[in-house]
Symmetry: C2
Subunit: 137 residues, 2 copies
DNA sequence: CGGTTATGTCCGTGTACAGTAAACAGGGAA
DNA sequence: TTCCCTGTTTACTGTACACGGACATAACCG
């Protein structure tokens, strides 16, 4: 580690082989349940069999990128957002949405930190209503 | 490019040297305005002078990570979220917030896509109110 | 004038991440 | 046995995000 790191680089996040309990084993379970062979599934997802094998064994430093996980989710009939979160990643469309309002979007997210799904749903409904009624001012 | 990429990897995002107009030049302008030398500023930020030089010239493939930009913002008296967005990144605390509710958070963000700062502010106020009043169910 | 110090820059190197390729071992079917 | 399909291991690749040393230039000081 370099001398430059003494400043602010402290919390690099733990570098676990897998972040929560198990993304890899879950994929393997769903894949086999669907009757896909490793090679076949890898081909459909657009990754190499080797890499898929590593991923399913949690032998990789970090899971695949969001777009690959998206593809997996579609093939397995699972929620893409769920799988992506399980892998410790963020859905690809969200960064653009956040960056479109660099101050207000982060502020909103911090304001809803810790909220329950029900609370979030109510806000989402509010948002839908605001959109439908046109921008009042 | 490998045979495996023919599937879904199409939109890899444009790979521009800098994403929008110019993050590097902006940093340089603010730094010199504050009277910091390149070496001094790099030291305070916790990066190498070399790297800072590259960054300010947009000579890097992609800008520094969010934590370094955060430090720069503090030293320059700029909004960290603003600078981070300008660099095409996402504030470090947001992924955790999103992943805490893998379905509801993305849904909320998509529901507010395209909203004005004013609209977002109203939702943020709603959120604050909900938090203060305790969870009504 | 010559030496020191401060400025920014160029070129090469290193490590982590996100994968690929080739070769391999084991189980069934013909 | 041979063939083929299963999954696995080892080694390699390219890009991102940095660091280090050497360098050119200009200013300052004696």
């Amino acid at each position: 580690m370099s001398v430059y790191s003494k400043q602010g680089t402290s919390e690099r996040q733990p570098v676990m082989t897998a972040q929560k309990p198990k993304f890899g084993p879950f994929i393997r379970e769903r894949r086999t349940a669907k009757g896909y062979s490793l090679r076949r599934f890898a081909e459909l997802v657009g990754i190499s069999p080797t890499y898929l094998s590593h991923v399913e064994q949690d032998k990789v430093d970090s899971p695949p990128t969001a777009d690959r996980i998206q593809k997996m989710a579609e093939l397995l009939g699972e929620s893409a957002d769920e799988l992506i979160a399980m892998a410790g990643r963020v859905p690809e469309d969200l960064p653009k949405i956040i960056q479109s309002q660099p101050e207000a979007m982060p502020a909103l997210l911090r304001a809803v930190k810790g909220f329950t799904p029900e609370q979030l749903k109510r806000l989402q409904d509010q948002a839908a209503k605001m959109r439908k009624e046109g921008d009042p001012q």
